[in-house]
Amino acid sequence: MRFALKRLLTALLTLLLVSLMTFAAFAILPGDPARVILGQEASVAQIDALRTSLGLDRPLPEQYVSWLGGFLSGDNGESIKYHQPINEMLTSYIPVTATLAALAIVLMALIAVPLALLAARFSGSWIDRVVSAFSTLSISIPGFFLAVLLIWVFGLGLRLFVAGRYVPLSDDLLGFLGYLFWPALAIAIPCAGMAAKYLRDSIVQQLQLDYIKTALGKGNTAGQVLRRHALKNSLIPALTMLGMIVGDVFAGSIIVESVFSVPGIGRLLVSSISYRDFPMVEVLVMYIACAVVAANTLVDIAIKLIDPRIRLR
């Protein structure tokens, strides 16, 4: 219990730091939102008037405190770009990326776990080498290219889906999931490559240990040993990695959402940064950071539960 509290405190501190750093990045970054909004036609007087109405003429600490106060009280204000309340907008964006991320993680597990088991089971054989080659290849393909490749092969070539025809969740649940399957696959493949590599190494390491020989000697079959003994012990490094992969999934969604024309928060983040839509960017970064920090905190707690020997401070 005390451990969980400590973890929670660290998580909150991390989030505070993230918000400060995002804010600082925007303060340093050149580019004036008022100028972007008003475009080339605007006069200096108009730009100044808009800066005042956006509150950008206030001192930086004051801007930060007022933003933080709003964020904590759940009022994120209005998007500079869309002139709409941010909370209202995000109710349609967050479910999209959350679904995409969940689908990607499921697909990742469905690809990585069997491959890792197979490679570990036949470690050193040609199967192991093929799996290892797949891992290396999938990690090294740029996310953008993989996304375009999937569209070419399955969208334009095999016509399994229509590139760009995103189906909103409100229209049709199955169509929504069906379209998101492809971008999720594009996110999952590189993550799966990494996960398979980690898990395989971890299992192989466990299989070298004495307790496996003992377990085998007691008359257990190979499958029983793998499932009851080796897999559980191999899960600890794999779980640690799962926490990191959540971060990768969000990073992947930023590129993949753009290529697949999916209206999620990754794509919104990119366009908001180039528009200097500061309130929107800060909120999005905080939400993504929350998701990643929460996943890692949960993983730490889960590891502690699985293996009480590990002392995390």
Binding site: F161, A163, R165, G178, F181, T221, A222, G223, R267, S274
Partner: protein, 535 residues
Amino acid sequence: MKNPLSLPSRRLRAAFSVMIASLLATSLLLAGCSGGSGGNQASASGSATSSASASGNTSKAGGGEFRFGTNAEIDSLDPYLVVGGDAKGIVLFNIFEGLLKSDKDGNFFPAVAESYEVKDAGKTYSFKLRKGVKFHNGNEVTPADVRYSFDQALSGEFAHGSSAAFANIEKVDVTEAGDITITLKEANTEFTAFVTNAIIPADYTEHESHPIGTGPFKFESYAPQQELVLSKFDEYWQEGLPHLDKVSIINHADSNATLLSLQSGNIDGSALAADSITSVDESVYNIIQRNSNAVQLLALNNDYEPLKDPRVRQALSYAVDKKQIIDQAFGGYGTPVGTPIIPGLAKYFNASLTNAYPADVEKAKQLLADAGYADGFDLEIAVPSNYVVHVDTAQVIVNQLAAIGVSATIKQYDWATWLEDVYGNRNYQATVVSVGGASLSPGGELSRYRSDAEDNFFNFKSPAFDAKYDEAVAALDESKKASLYKEAQQILSEEAASVFIQDIAGLSAINNHFDGLVSYPIYAVLDFSLIKKVE
């Protein structure tokens, strides 16, 4: 290192095959769903059939749906808040209308007004409100609505294309009978070009979420970064227009995503980069070339030491080969120019300046030597990196300048930084960008070259130009005005205020089941009302 589990395990193999099977099943199931919901795409044999069936679904009434893809985002649906050039071209021309409206040749015709008259040599403009024009909410346009619309336009809180011209308005009188009189502080015979500001219902402030205008299409729905859906306004005042029942403007993150969407048949038309033409199926899409109605230039900061000397600027003008730029970076599509006025403004465009500086390396070198830069100088070209065409152009220019000994380098800026540093603070040496095209007024295009203009980011100063410009704006006789404007352009060319390159070709692909995508001499205007289905 021998694997201790040398005996194959039946259970393991069974578990493994279950996993593989479930992975396959999931993918097939999901793929099946997406195919089914996308309009039977899975069974379609080619993009022609698929897109035809997609757009044919709603064609019961004959008009059909037109799906247009764009990577420009609509920043606002409020006609007095929208700023983005592409967004204006979509919103202001299809949902809204002003007292006057431009046709495809740049002539103005009365829209919400029935007739208009220019009096007192361009000091007074009077309009008569057209009877029976309706808003999308069914209400008839009243003089009070016109009054309210002009109050919005004059409030000056936000910038729009007409703000500079509207600052010249002394008063707007609207009578109960529907007579509108605009009195200007100073006469300006080009003012008709600005009376296109949207007429909106009085005291209606919900345009951001549900715009209401008098245009040919009414608003249906908008989801940012997804689509804007418009539908036919049945009570539109122009008989027989629009042809389409429904227009969907589909948003993509970038031109690559737009191209993929076009290739898959998801959309019926979109803008197209010159290098993508070969990627589009010619048997399905017609390629239409229009002007983009903005002049691409190598803007020179006349305050940068070497560029202070007009001979150096002339040397750069001789060194930059427009034809080579158009061939290498634009696949041969583009209209070379030698002035900031777009060719679309044919009456004022000084065509004789296009070849004022033919590519001539020797002459350029000579001019540089005369100015004391025989060994060349360093030039940093700032380019907004979001405009691939400008980055490509800058790369060609770097090579062309190397030939005359000027060592140019490219520095890429993101758009927001470019706007602030380069455009706003004039903290640059040279930059490649497109300028102009917001209105159909030559004065609007040239005003930024005045010595005291706030948006003169060239730091160009020429008393001769200022005098000629003022004379042209004040001129009342139309042909006299045109010739004065041409002389003013002549001065810009002789002084080589900047290197004027071209009006970039706006290429579009449109499914050959549709026709009527016409070009307007205003930047990015998309008039969906003229598009119709053909068989």
